[in-house]
Subunit: 204 residues, 2 copies
């Protein structure tokens, strides 16, 4: 059984758990603490020199980091990745958007505002307005897209939706108000209603 090296509260790790659960792929979870620096120690760096979770490790020792790559690997050829070439490109468009224009502001604001020691947040207090401005810009892009569409890529739920759900559904923990984004809120409800959906708190 593959081992998912993870932090339970990480939205990036949640994405992998959620997709695996919906695909019926069993994973063993190996947990790391938020503040113990375990992913920067030699034992972990030997598995992922970039020092980050999620990391998927197979029985034969192969390892795969990057939530987007793990989602693609687990889901290619399943209902969670379209067969149409144009729709596949759109899946990746939204996954890259999430990692570049969304996660660095929404996930980062959530971490420092809700999960970091207060004195560490205070050192970064001056950055909060920029996180909120850029995070809201990303939410605005999502709202525009969803105004006339049910899902991010193609006509069905896909790993693009999972990738964007990971940190959007808990954006309030980063100080974001989803009140101004009705299409985003409706889409969050559709994602949560998909068969096999599990919340962030769920183990595999």
């Amino acid at each position: 059984m593959p081992v998912l090296h993870q932090m339970q509260m990480s939205g990036n790790c949640y994405k992998v758990r959620l997709a695996a659960r919906q695909l019926g792929i069993a994973l063993a979870l190996k947990d790391y603490g938020l503040h113990d620096g375990a992913t920067r120690k030699p034992n972990f760096l030997a598995r992922n020199p970039n020092g980050r979770v999620p990391l998927l490790e197979f029985d034969d020792g192969r390892t795969l980091p990057e939530s987007g790559a793990i989602l693609w690997y687990l889901s290619e050829g399943t209902r969670l990745v379209p067969t149409d070439r144009w729709e596949r490109a759109q899946v990746l468009q939204w996954m890259f958007f999430e990692q570049y224009s969304h996660e660095p502001y929404i996930a980062v604001a959530r971490f420092w505002l809700s999960y970091a020691p207060k004195e560490e947040l205070e050192k970064r207090r001056a950055l909060v307005p920029e996180w909120h401005a850029r995070g809201n810009a990303a939410l605005g892009v999502m709202e525009t897209h969803l105004a006339h569409r049910q899902w991010f890529a193609g006509a069905r739920y896909s790993i693009a939706d999972i990738a964007l759900y990971g940190y959007t559904h808990c954006a309030a923990e980063g100080g974001f108000d989803l009140g101004a984004y009705p299409a985003v809120r409706a889409w969050l409800g559709r994602v949560a209603g998909e068969p096999g959906h599990v919340p962030l708190e769920a183990r595999w």
Copy 2:
């Protein structure tokens, strides 16, 4: 002929030009200035609500943003994307790594140090050490990977190499010294020696 909305000096746009050139896909280029805000104006935002280049536009009006998604769309089914599922996941691993852990530091340092008005750089001077620390961390991850390998994913040159070449080859413009990364420098030479390679300055 598809239109690539682009900035000539952008490494993200260069990646698309380079892959298209090596695949023999003709593109028309529509240029935007670095400092004129044209990608934030309504005419452009109607094509890409995220306000960024590169953006690929087709004759029928379809548009595709995100350099990684464009690279995948143009290259899937060609020699630049492996057929093996595991190797494809590794291509995406490095493309996501580049956009999350490399570009935000190396490309950003290059922009502010070499392409922005001096007074704008001065406002951000305090950020330079963090850009350099994190950018060097990314170069270290690349050096570790390349110590015993020729290419980033699988046994051949792929869009993972193109994605990482985009800003690594011009990292000196961001104040990075590649002297400490001999495997990276050797790899840069291999990429530049691939058939059909063109420099960043080349038009299509």
